[in-house]
Amino acid sequence: MAEAHDRPAESFTIRLRRYDPQSGDAPYWDEHTVQLEPHRSVLEAILQARDRFDGSIGIRCSCRQAICGSCGVRVNGEPSLACHTHLDAAKSSSLRGGVIEIEPMGNMPVIKDLIVDMDAVHWKKIQRVTPWLLAKQPVPEREYIVDKEAMVDVTQTMACIQCGACVSDCLAMEVDPGFIGPAALAKAYRFVGDPRDDQQFERLNDLAQDPQGIFDCTHCFKCVEACPKDVNPMGQIMRLRRVAIADHDIVDVNNGERHEAAFATLVKDNGLLWEAELLPRSYGGNSWFGKFAPPAGKELLSSLPAILKALMRGKVTPMGALKPHRIPAGDLKAVQSIYEKVEGRKERYELNLYITGQDEDPAPAAHAGAIATGGAETAQVTAEQEGSNQ
């Protein structure tokens, strides 16, 4: 265990994206070299530069232990908390020969240096999801009696520190700034998953019917990677979908539910997605005849330019559109047996960071490094319709 404490200080060069709104100048880069032990954080490097060289470097920070959520930045282009990123890791992920590049987060306007306007984007979106408990009535005299596992389950989203790292690099939000987004939807799950909340259906229906709601997520995993607290925002969005569809039979005007159903059926039948069938089935009904339904025709017609472009670029062939991909019979059987196993379960099986599911995990073969972000640990083991996206 001593390894982390024995290494001497080294030189690290940080390259900061600076912006002074009062100067009239464009943003610029500013480099400083600091002396710190390699397991110290990028925040400590910034603070050393601020304390010793230039007090005007702007960054929000307080706790230095990844709990206050103030110091969200991009390090070498990737969103994270400055206090939660080790210098040695940042140096080795540098795209500039070891120089650590630090920029403000994306998707939010910059106020000064590394400080962004979270009110304008992040907090506005949080307010969109009715972010308070709508408690079941009557309120009991003592506590609500609820399932132990349910409370542990919502702790994962409660653990969100509102740092904005997931918002910073949400690809869907980049294309559609109105998308409610990963942080706010994770916050929504905190209520949807809370057995004391009285409005589970209303919340889900609202978020499913909103064209910028749960079906606007493109399933890119960026937020899962970005989150310093393993909240797994995308996983929470998928859970919102699953609860909406499986528990409440919500069929949304955005075609999200139909799209997922079509996707799942195509993979089940063919072992692989049959792309050409996806759109007509999503709109016209989940069978081969779907394409003859008027809404599918309308949708196909409006997608014609995209279809032609895809044909021209060779992404789709006429034969491929007419026939599904074929995979060996054994493989198809294997895929279908996954469906049988998952759909055959009595209850939907959801894993959560705080619920390990076993009493004693075997010890890892080698001591895990200090920087592991636990991404693999948070992967959701899900039952139905995982893998669909729009």
Binding site: M1, C68, A159, G369, A370
Partner: protein
């Protein structure tokens, strides 16, 4: 000019609770914080909140534990208020949405904590403070029509009217640099402690004693300032806190010989003795050469004795902290810790309704000293303190607002004065020292001489150092000349607050010639109830601090020898 019935400065747990209570009682409320409310340092409270909610518990037992934990310096009337109201307050929090962890029956689960005679700490994994703070902020968003929020506004001073009543505050919008006078019938200070007087500290960089110093400058007495809590389990290098919940779940403390040394000083409670006792025992092991790690400066905290599943479920945050900040998997190997500055029991003197001796000025939470913690705060009593006295202050201030007219005062001169003060700092020439250098020296000096063990010589040295730093701070320079997010100039103002708090701490520590709670004087190693069973107050008269005493309120528990 914004005008409110109740202006709350600070938006951590105490401030947000006060705001909600005042609004519920019909007051027009503004809550102001130099950071976004969820960044407040309450967020870092990990372990839980104490309340006698179990059917076989009794709030009298909680109160006795708190009195004993305080080394009999706590005011027992205030402790009775806090402990008797705790169960209802915790239930209220549960009802508004805090996701307290449950037992198998679906009731709120309770964990063991230091200095408690039974399990009475409700918790949300080890992010209890964060969960509570975020849930209160949910409520602020819900009640946005009745509570006006001024987020990222830095308060520079309190306003007093001609009769000496508190009537508002001057504040600066951090985003624009715009300064404004806020008048209010009542002001509630809820802006936390002064941990940044120390280096290292578990406290966030924002915890700079702003409220304590502003009240002190306005003439309010500070009480119990000598009582500075060192938390027994902080990471050796960075001072980052490892929750007491770890020991609550069964973790051991080991010295270099692998011995559970707590046997010597607390044979019954072992690792779950009160924090002052554990920190002193650790420091003794380190001082006597039985420490671990480089320079023998640490102690091992062994969490591997806790079942791994339980650790991952209930101590998730410290699994992450160990991994990310010390490179240790705490479920597999012990982690090196040491005592570190964590909390100040002292603060602005208040009664049980949060009232300070200045009319119209209230204080609640770590900024205040009721005194419920006396010489040593029990773990998981600070969250309780913030909520109970935050609520009571909010309610009382709302009631008072209903019975008086709006304050009458001319704010222009005050506003101009604070604007000039800031302009003067910005225009200082670059000779002398940087603000950051002075702050760093102050922290190291306090950690050297006003720590777990203290003596006359060291404290006198600290006092002189503080005087010198005060003079240097008056000319200390900064780089930032802008108005948008000029954190540099705010740092200079914070340094001034810290120096006031540090001076009051050292003066009180020098005054108390005995050992009680967190104050251990190697030159006066015994507790001396005959002479020192009293509070020490520090009040500013003109420029000069004056020390005086006030009695300890004893209701049902006479002082006795403290054994764990």
């Amino acid at each position: 000019m914004p005008q409110h019935d109740v202006l709350i400065i600070g938006a951590g747990l105490a401030g947000q609770r006060a705001a909600l209570a005042a609004a519920q009682n019909g007051a027009s409320v503004a809550i102001m914080s130099k950071v976004h409310p969820v960044r407040s340092h309450s967020v870092a409270a990990a372990g839980g909140i104490n309340a006698a909610i179990s059917v076989d518990d009794d709030w009298h037992s909680h109160a006795y534990d708190t009195v004993k934990g305080s080394d009999f310096l706590g005011d027992q009337d205030a402790i009775e208020v806090m402990c008797s109201e705790a169960p209802a307050e915790v239930m209220h929090l549960e009802h508004i949405g805090v996701t307290f962890h449950r037992n198998e029956k679906g009731e709120m689960d309770l964990r063991a904590f230091g200095g408690a005679s039974m399990k009475r700490t409700a918790y949300v994994a080890d992010i209890t403070g964060q969960a509570m703070l975020h849930v209160l902020y949910e409520q602020l968003m819900k009640h946005h029509e009745t509570v006006e929020r001024y987020e990222e506004w830095f308060t520079t001073s309190l306003l007093l009217d001609e009769e000496g009543r508190c009537a508002g505050a001057i504040a600066r919008d951090v985003r624009s640099g715009h300064m404004e006078a806020f008048t209010a019938k009542n002001v509630i200070l809820a802006c936390g402690g002064a941990g940044q007087c120390y280096k290292p500290t578990t406290n966030g960089l924002i915890v700079t004693g702003d409220g304590i110093a502003m009240a002190y400058r306005a003439g309010a007495p500070l009480m119990d300032m000598e009582m500075v809590q060192y938390h027994p389990t902080c990471l050796v290098e960075t001072g980052i806190l490892i929750t007491e919940g770890a020991r609550g779940e069964g973790a051991h403390l080991l010295n270099a010989n692998g011995e559970r040394f707590m046997e010597k000083s607390a044979p019954n409670k072992m690792e779950l003795a009160s924090r002052d006792v554990v920190s002193r025992a650790e420091q003794t092991e380190i001082n006597e050469g039985r420490g671990v790690g480089p320079g023998g400066a640490g102690i091992f905290l062994d969490v591997t004795v806790v079942p791994r599943k339980r650790t991952l479920e209930a101590l998730r945050e410290i699994v992450n902290l160990g991994r990310d900040f010390a490179g240790v998997d705490i479920t597999r190997e012990p982690i090196m810790i040491r005592p570190g500055q964590h909390y100040i029991m002292g603060g602005v003197k208040t009664d049980v309704d949060g009232r300070t001796p200045i009319e119209g000025l209230y204080a609640a939470g770590e900024v205040a000293c009721v005194s419920v913690h006396g010489g040593n705060r029990l773990g998981a009593n600070s969250l309780l303190d913030t909520l109970i006295f935050g609520r009571r202050a909010g309610e009382h201030a709302a009631d008072r607002a209903a019975s008086i007219g709006p304050p009458k005062l001319d704010t222009a001169a005050h506003l101009r004065n604070d604007m000039q003060r800031i302009d003067e700092i910005i225009s200082r020439p670059h000779d002398g020292r940087r603000v950051s250098e002075i702050k760093s020296e102050l922290g190291e000096e306090m950690n050297r001489h006003a720590a777990v063990y203290r003596d006359e010589e060291g404290l006198q040295e600290a006092l002189q150092t503080i005087e010198r730093l005060r003079e240097q701070a008056a000319g200390a320079w900064i780089d930032d000349r802008g108005t948008v997010f000029n954190q540099d100039v705010l740092g200079a103002l914070e340094l001034g607050f810290l120096i006031d708090c540090a001076q009051a701490t050292v003066l009180a520590a020098l005054e108390r010639k005995e050992s009680r709670g967190a104050q251990f004087r190697t030159d006066y190693p015994e507790r001396n109830d005959e002479q020192w069973l009293k509070h020490i107050d520090v009040t500013l008269h003109g420029e000069q601090p004056k020390v005086s005493y006030s009695p300890v309120t004893i209701t049902q528990w006479q002082p006795e020898e403290r054994k764990y």
